[in-house]
């Protein structure tokens, strides 16, 4: 008979409503035999008692329903964010608070590179927090004039480069006339490149390859380390191109005995006609393994709110900016929904603005009439501006939502002042309304847009604190218990995985987050600060300290 291990713990939060709390959990074959008292679990026969977690709190391994594996790759670049952030090796990089500090950190990194022509890429610069002072080409030249340098902004939509990078891209000239390329008084570009269409010609020269959302092999491994450090055992890669090469790489890496997470890549919708897209995703689904779950589609309907490219309904942007952009035509969205419903393939749709959300709802209704499919769980990702009426319609149609709870902290003040104004900023990511309406809900980080960390995300939904410390939308706050549900079973539900993961109960995968403190006992404000010891994934123990 296969071996059974019984773990004791200070407390086990199971998320199983029949037995919310336990002291022991028995694991066999990587799955949960049961949770309860030692006496109860002993009835299963021979076992080894493992006391290593006796002072720890176990909860279900957390499920991140919207992240991108590129976070793993980005950590090989220089971190230039405003907030402290932990890298895959557990080092916490302090946030840089001034342009001088940005340049200082780049110089330190520059001194480490031996090849004088190797590019120096930085990431996560956020001028919003630096009084909107821009980095100039000349400042970056002071770091190096021989190697190309490029700094990606936190938004992912602006790149600052030095003179060498512009030269390599053939853009170091006068007479350019493009709104995405501001010019200095000398008539040459300032080095700021705004928007993907002007970033892509330069990106490859500064270490940002064209297929930015794809991670590489080392990136995927590093991403796994971040999962262990944040208590995550199941994680999405929400806009993967899933070429043959990247699928075989992901199969290989996640198939390694020590890979610590189940990765769920969604096939990005562009590049294939809808019927080919659906057929391809059906094919990919058949290649799934226990640590690589394939077979879902990601559609992007609009842009971002802070980038003013999200599609808003009346009255539009608070600062009067023109309405945003569609990345899919309504007819194309409809065709994908119809074909996917017919084939039983799930679609997740990125809708930031409330008009994009409205389009998704308007489109799914008729598609469901044509292809009735119970339990489709089509999910709106971000869905940041949905109002109560939209949540009611989502409920009627059986849709799920994954709200961007981290946004309150990182951009809440901007939304209040600039993008959508006080009233709509208050209802953004309306977790309370979603739950009260009965819409199955998850919350997410969208890493690398904001740092991976479901306990932080839960904190964001519970407190709704902005970076300036205000509580924005107190009526939309949810309880700690609800937030913990959202980062486990809630997210698992949006992936049709709630039968396999998300709670500690008999038959499920032995996935635990191992915590140093009890999230249900600490002050809600301290939720984000709970230290994570590591995880157990599929019965395998991963200590963050040993990575």
């Amino acid at each position: 008979m296969p071996a059974t291990t019984i773990y004791s713990a200070q407390k086990i939060i199971t998320m199983n409503p029949s037995r919310p709390v336990a002291t022991h959990v028995a694991v066999r074959d990587g799955r949960i035999l049961g949770a309860g008292t030692l006496e109860e679990l002993e009835t299963w026969g021979d076992y080894t008692l493992d006391d290593r977690f006796k002072d720890k709190i176990l909860m279900p391994g957390m499920v991140e329903g919207h992240a991108h594996t590129m976070e793993g790759t980005l950590w090989r670049n220089v971190y230039l964010g405003y907030f402290d952030r932990m890298d895959p090796d557990g080092k916490v990089w302090s946030g840089v608070k001034t342009i001088e500090a940005v340049l200082e950190r780049l110089k330190e990194a520059e001194a480490q590179i031996t090849d004088p022509e190797a590019p120096l890429p930085g990431w996560q610069l956020d001028p919003i927090y630096l009084n909107n002072v821009r980095v100039t080409r000349q400042q970056l030249d002071s770091v190096s004039s021989t190697r190309p340098i490029g700094i990606m902004h936190a938004s992912g939509h602006i790149l600052n480069v030095n003179t060498k990078a512009l030269e390599l891209a053939g853009l170091m000239k006068t007479g350019l006339n493009h709104p995405g390329i501001p010019l200095g008084p000398d008539g040459y570009p300032t080095g700021e490149l705004k928007g993907p269409e002007v970033m892509t010609p330069v990106g490859p020269h500064v270490g940002y390859e064209r297929a930015l959302t794809d991670c590489d092999e080392q990136g995927l491994r590093d991403f796994g380390k971040l999962c262990v450090r944040t208590g995550v055992t199941t994680i999405t890669d929400l806009a993967a191109r899933l070429t043959d090469d990247s699928v075989s790489m992901m199969l290989r890496v996640t198939g390694e005995k020590t890979y610590p997470a189940c990765v769920v890549p969604l096939r990005f919708f562009l590049g294939l006609a809808p019927k080919d897209l659906v057929a391809e995703v059906v094919r990919l689904k058949g290649m799934s393994t226990e640590r690589l779950s394939l077979g879902r589609i990601k559609v992007v309907a609009d842009g971002s709110i802070q980038g003013f490219s999200a599609r808003l309904r009346w009255p539009g942007y608070h600062n009067g900016a023109e309405n945003g952009l569609w990345y899919v035509a309504p007819e194309q969205l409809s065709e994908i929904y119809h074909l996917a419903l017919e084939a039983g393939v799930q679609v997740h749709t990125h809708t930031n603005g409330d008009q994009a959300t409205e389009l998704a709802i308007d489109t799914l209704g008729p598609a469901l009439l044509k292809h009735p499919r119970r339990d489709h769980r089509f999910t709106l990702q971000h869905c940041q501006l949905a109002d109560a009426a939209q949540f009611r319609r989502m409920k009627e149609l059986g849709m799920c939502v994954n709200l961007f709870a981290n946004h309150h902290f990182y951009w809440g003040d901007e939304h209040y002042k600039l993008t959508v104004g006080p009233d709509r900023a208050t209802r953004m990511n309306a977790c309370r309304t979603a739950l009260d309406t009965g819409v199955p809900m998850a919350i997410h980080s969208d890493a690398p847009v904001t740092p991976l960390g479901p306990l932080f995300t839960a904190w964001g939904a519970v407190t709704r604190r902005t970076a300036s410390g205000r509580v924005q939308g107190e009526e939309e706050r949810i309880t700690v218990a609800e937030a913990l549900w959202a980062v486990t079973l809630g997210a698992a539900y949006t992936l049709h995985m709630d039968g396999e993961v998300g709670s500690i109960e008999t038959g499920k995968r032995a996935d635990f987050a191992v915590l140093e403190q009890d999230p249900t006992e600490v002050e809600p404000e301290a939720l984000k600060d709970i230290p994570v010891w590591g995880t157990v994934q599929g019965g395998r123990v991963f200590a963050a300290a040993d990575l």
Partner: protein, 299 residues
């Protein structure tokens, strides 16, 4: 590789306006020009089967030296790849996605060395246009596309009565006053209007129905002219010119190459030995040849 930059035309317009039909029409009537077509739709290369000579990975070659490929999100790489083909294409046509803003694509082209942004041609589904323009979801996208156009093709114009077409023409004149407007049926438009005039403008043919629709003239002013001022007037003035191309002596000395596409114009230095002559083409109705001659003589 020749030194001449490769001209690039962006064909835009919402779904169903007939972009794909028009691209196939262009390929059929390329008149010896080697076209490279880049498609940014959903990955399907929309080329009529009888035109296809061979198919490869995301690349179709078409009889007569034309090719078609899909570029996904990476326009720059696709363009550079096109320019390196042997034989080199004469003209690149980018068929943009139904929700793309064509002017933004043309601006990107302007950043890449070795290419000349030739203009944006936006197709409108003539019978549907007014309704689509007030659609709460895509209305503003369609208006933005129209306002970006150098030339608007009122496609499927045969489905409208004469008065309806006139009303649409007036509405477009108001909505997209910068653009030259041409009616077309099943995308069958004079190739000169879309791709500009070829090396032998007078020998090239608009083909069939479109022939009767267009008129043209060659301007050969007696004295050197202010080429930039002339190009601007032709592009913006009431002469009914859709396209103009040719060499003229400039008052500053030397020869200039003039390109006009709707309201868009460009003047670049030309070789001293070029034969002077500026070919202007426009819809027969509204084309004012004698005013153009007078304009050139006074410029």
């Amino acid at each position: 590789m020749t030194g001449e930059p490769l001209p690039v035309t962006v064909i835009g317009g919402y779904l169903g306006a007939g972009k794909t039909t028009m691209v196939n029409h262009l390929l059929r009537n390329a008149g010896g020009r080697r076209l490279a077509v880049l498609v940014n739709e959903f990955g399907e290369l929309p080329i009529d089967e009888d035109l296809i000579e061979a198919e490869g990975d995301n690349l179709i070659s078409i009889a007569g030296g034309c090719v078609c490929c899909s570029f996904g999100s990476d326009l720059t790489a696709a363009l550079i790849q096109m320019a390196q083909m042997d034989p080199r294409p004469d003209h690149v046509v980018i068929e943009s996605s139904g929700v793309a803003i064509p002017g933004a694509i043309l601006l990107t082209v302007s950043l890449i060395d070795g290419f000349r942004p030739d203009g944006t041609v936006v197709l409108a589904d003539a019978p549907q246009l007014r309704r689509a323009a007030v659609d709460p979801y895509i209305g503003d996208t369609i208006l933005r596309q129209l306002r970006d156009a150098n030339i608007v093709l009122m496609n499927k114009s045969d489905l409208l009565g004469e008065t309806e077409l006139e009303a649409l023409d007036l509405w477009l004149a108001d909505t997209a006053p910068q653009a030259a407007r041409i009616p077309s049926i099943r995308g069958a438009v004079a190739i000169e209007a879309v791709l500009g005039l070829g090396a032998e403008p007078l020998a090239s043919s608009a083909g069939g129905h479109a022939d009767k629709l267009f008129d043209s003239i060659v301007l050969r002013p007696a004295a050197p002219v202010d080429c930039e001022a002339l190009a601007a007037r032709i592009a913006e003035g009431p002469y009914g010119v859709v396209r103009a191309k040719g060499y003229l002596r400039d008052r500053q000395g030397g020869v200039r190459l003039i390109h006009v596409a709707g309201n868009r114009w460009e003047v670049t230095p030309g070789p001293d030995d070029a034969r002077p002559g500026l070919v202007c083409i426009g819809l027969r109705e509204g084309f004012d040849g004698s005013a153009l001659v007078a304009l050139a003589d006074s410029a």
